[in-house]
């Protein structure tokens, strides 16, 4: 314990000394963060300082092995670092699907050679990765994917399209599920490959949402040549990697690990709604809905804590990530609904004078996608009822 206490003290001192003030402020615009990549852009000098300090300290991915560019911290040390960063409000030095999604998959499924090749580049922010799972018409039935990878000896020739590929128009490489066996049953002919977006035949088109602009794109592959060494894991067994990543993604979307500072709904209500003589919100129905919502929000946070604590003792079910995904996204949807109700006609504004006008309405519209992306709420409920409750198929 003494050693950990020392680590905490040292960490705190280092962070306070090295994290620029502006990097301790919450992110306001999702585009105003450092994503790395070939055409890396630091939007501010502080962003650059912060990334370089952390890279030097090996804390961009503190918990990966040192040989892969990580910091080699133990889980306990990493926890402390996270806690101290949260305490100080430090931003992540690098935003990256390479860290959150591809990295864990490589660690679990890739060859040692692949790990040594790709992981350090992720840490150094050299490649901006995006992901290619969903396809037009596939929807929840992810495994029905149709993007074909035909074996051409030393390479695959890939043709098809992907949808909901975040930042594909900016990314350098894509990790991708493709069909490599066209006879096999739906789940068994899928492989996991890495594709350089600069290869001939790759193109992208941004997707506009009901909320307006979005990072999502459609990505098209027209006879794209991909070297065979870009295959991760076993040929035709990519579905295992997909399942692993889906569970991972669900946890992220469900809100675990989110350090976003949320304004309490009742505060917004007090600023927006008529107040009665007792100092309470005059509309009793709305007041009750807010109190009910905040009840669930607070208890959901406690539940993340409880289940995380239980997981540490080895008592956990992977399917619980479906519960987190389902409940967390429904809560965010409920939050946006309430904020709309509280703010009355003002909430309806889409465009007016200022850049921030329309924020509320657009966030509300955007939240409608939460219960769809990363596996719909219906899919999560299916998983809970089958994998946790053991209810049978028909």
């Amino acid at each position: 314990m003494k050693e950990l206490d020392d680590f905490r003290t040292a960490t705190r001192i280092w962070l306070e000394a090295n994290c620029p003030k502006s990097m301790c402020q919450p992110v306001k615009d999702p585009f105003d963060v450092y994503w790395g990549g070939r055409n890396a852009v630091f939007h501010t000098e502080d962003q650059k300082v912060w990334f370089e300090k952390m890279l030097e300290k090996r804390w961009v991915v503190p918990y990966w092995d040192k040989k892969y560019g990580g910091g080699g911290l133990t889980p306990e040390e990493n926890n402390i670092l996270t806690q101290e960063m949260t305490r100080l409000g430090c931003r992540k030095p690098l935003y990256s699907f390479g860290i959150s999604m591809l990295g864990p998959a490589l660690l679990k499924f890739a060859t040692e050679e692949q790990k040594l090749h790709y992981l350090p580049q992720i840490v150094e922010g050299k490649i901006w990765w995006c992901q290619g799972y969903s396809e037009p018409n596939a929807g929840s039935d992810l495994a029905s994917l149709q993007t074909k990878a035909i074996d051409k000896g030393d390479h695959f020739e890939i043709t098809g399209s992907k949808v909901w590929t975040s930042y594909a128009d900016k990314a350098d490489w894509i990790f991708c599920l493709v069909r490599t066996d066209f006879e096999a049953s739906k789940h068994t002919g899928i492989s996991f490959v890495l594709i350089n977006m600069a290869t001939e035949g790759v193109s992208t088109r941004p997707i506009k949402l009901i909320s307006g602009k979005s990072p999502f794109c459609e990505t098209f592959f027209d006879g794209v040549k991909v070297p065979k060494e870009n295959l991760i894991g076993t040929l035709n067994e990519g579905w295992n990697i997909a399942k692993f990543l889906l569970t991972h993604e669900r946890q992220m979307i469900g809100g675990i690990g989110e350090t976003d500072v949320r304004k309490e709904v009742h505060q917004v209500a007090l600023e927006n709604l008529p107040i009665n003589a007792q100092g309470s919100i005059a509309d009793g129905v709305l007041r009750g809905q807010i109190s009910d919502f905040e009840m669930d929000e607070e208890i959901f946070d406690l539940t993340i804590q409880r289940i995380t604590d239980e997981a540490k003792t080895g008592n956990n079910s992977g399917a619980l990530s479906s519960f987190f995904k389902f409940y967390g996204t429904e809560l965010n949807i409920a939050r946006q609904e309430l904020l709309m109700a509280l703010s009355g006609t003002e909430a309806l504004i889409w465009e007016k004078n200022n850049k921030s006008d329309g924020d509320l309405a657009r966030k509300f519209c955007r939240s409608k996608g939460n219960s769809i992306e990363g596996g719909t709420s219906e899919i999560q409920l299916n998983i809970i009822s089958k994998l946790i409750l053991g209810l049978p198929n028909k």
Partner: protein, 372 residues
């Protein structure tokens, strides 16, 4: 009286449905949005006028059709289905009704012809804050000589940028009073916002605006009572549009459930979705009844017209919110893209359910009406 529409009302509804499907479908609304949020298509409005829709609720003695609000409700239901944009709500439902309720016969005789032929386009300047209420207003009218002077700021005025005249709700000597104000009057300044339905709504500032005494809408009658009657009409009319929005969003979703396949079967075969769809169906059945009842109550001068209007706006506000949310969810990923039309129904539903009081407001009013 049977809770049904008459053959004549049915014919009007069918004609509106056919006309709007051809001339003002969702794609037209999308085009208006994409062309820099145009408020509406003037040619379409001309055709609506030619079809007599601006004369629909005008009394016969002023040359109108006096067809009643059940009739107008049928048209609004159809505009809801197609998300057709026009000044029907602002000028016909709100402005014309204010004039109709007025006891200023000279004013009516002067303005009704223009309203019907389209040279005059009315709208209502009522709201002052972000939450609807009809009991107290900051906008003041003061008598100066024979005329009046208006001061105040009104928000969320539908078609405030294209209307030629405003019906302004104000306070005159502590009592509510309504005036018909020419947009060209001196002292009026207008700024606009685009709401999430891609519609244009105006904030209108009245600074020492002179209004002739001839333009006072309530002469002998109580302004508050007139405003109440106008609101019963407004709530019921908006509920009619919501009914159309809800029904169309529901029908499109059922259609999608029958077409879209996942895991080798159409998704409409999943029981969880079936039950949710059946519940929405049931709620929409209730919606149909209360909208019709509320419209009839106005035409029949039912003493309970205000209660039915609150019931209609509350029930429709709640249900159509639920229906459009479910519609998006059941459409899945495609539902949240701008390419799909279903999102427009979500957005328009949000605006209409909020305008003139949302579910919470009307639920509260119902409780107050009943004394609890």
């Amino acid at each position: 009286m049977a809770l049904l529409i008459t053959e004549e009302q049915k014919m009007l509804k069918d004609a509106a449905a056919e006309f709007l499907a051809a001339k003002a479908p969702v794609s037209a609304m999308r085009a208006l949005r994409d062309e820099g949020y145009k408020t509406f298509n003037p040619n379409l409005w001309e055709e609506m006028i030619a079809m007599g829709w601006t004369a629909l609720t005008v009394p016969e003695r002023y040359g109108g059709l006096d067809f009643g609000f059940v009739g107008l409700g049928q048209i609004l239901e159809e505009t809801g289905k197609h998300l057709s944009k026009s000044p029907l709500l602002s000028s016909v439902l709100l402005g014309t009704s204010a004039l109709k309720l007025s006891d200023n016969d000279a004013l009516k005789a002067k303005f009704f012809p223009g309203v019907m032929e389209g040279s005059i386009q009315l709208t209502l300047a009522l709201e002052e804050g972000k939450h609807h209420q009809i009991n107290s207003f900051e906008t003041q009218a003061v008598k100066v000589g024979d005329d009046y002077v208006l001061n105040g700021v009104k928000t969320m005025v539908m078609e405030g940028t294209t209307a030629s005249h405003f019906v302004v709700v104000s306070v005159l000597a502590s009592e509510i009073s309504l005036f018909l104000v020419d947009k060209k009057s001196e002292g009026i300044s207008i700024s606009e916002s685009i709401l999430m339905d891609a519609g244009t709504y105006a904030e209108i500032a009245f600074e020492k605006v002179k209004v002739s005494a001839q333009n006072k809408l309530n002469l002998q009658q109580d302004g508050k009572l007139m405003l109440d009657q106008l609101m019963a009409i407004a709530y019921s009319g908006l509920a009619s549009e919501l009914l159309g929005i809800g029904q169309q969003a529901f029908d499109s979703t059922i259609q999608y459930l029958k077409e879209r396949s996942q895991f080798g079967v159409v998704i409409g075969s999943y029981q969880a979705l079936q039950h949710r769809a059946a519940i929405l169906f049931s709620e929409l059945e209730l919606c149909k009844s209360i909208v019709l009842k509320a419209l009839k109550a106005i035409d029949e001068k039912d003493n309970n017209a205000m209660r039915y209007a609150h019931l209609a706006k509350a029930k429709l506000g709640k249900t159509v919110k639920q229906v459009t949310n479910e519609a998006i969810q059941m459409h899945g990923g495609i539902g949240v893209t701008d390419d799909a039309n279903i999102g427009f129904y979500l957005k328009r539903a949000r605006v209409v359910q909020q305008l003139f009081g949302d579910y919470h407001y009307h639920l509260d009013q119902l409780a107050i009406l009943k004394g609890f």
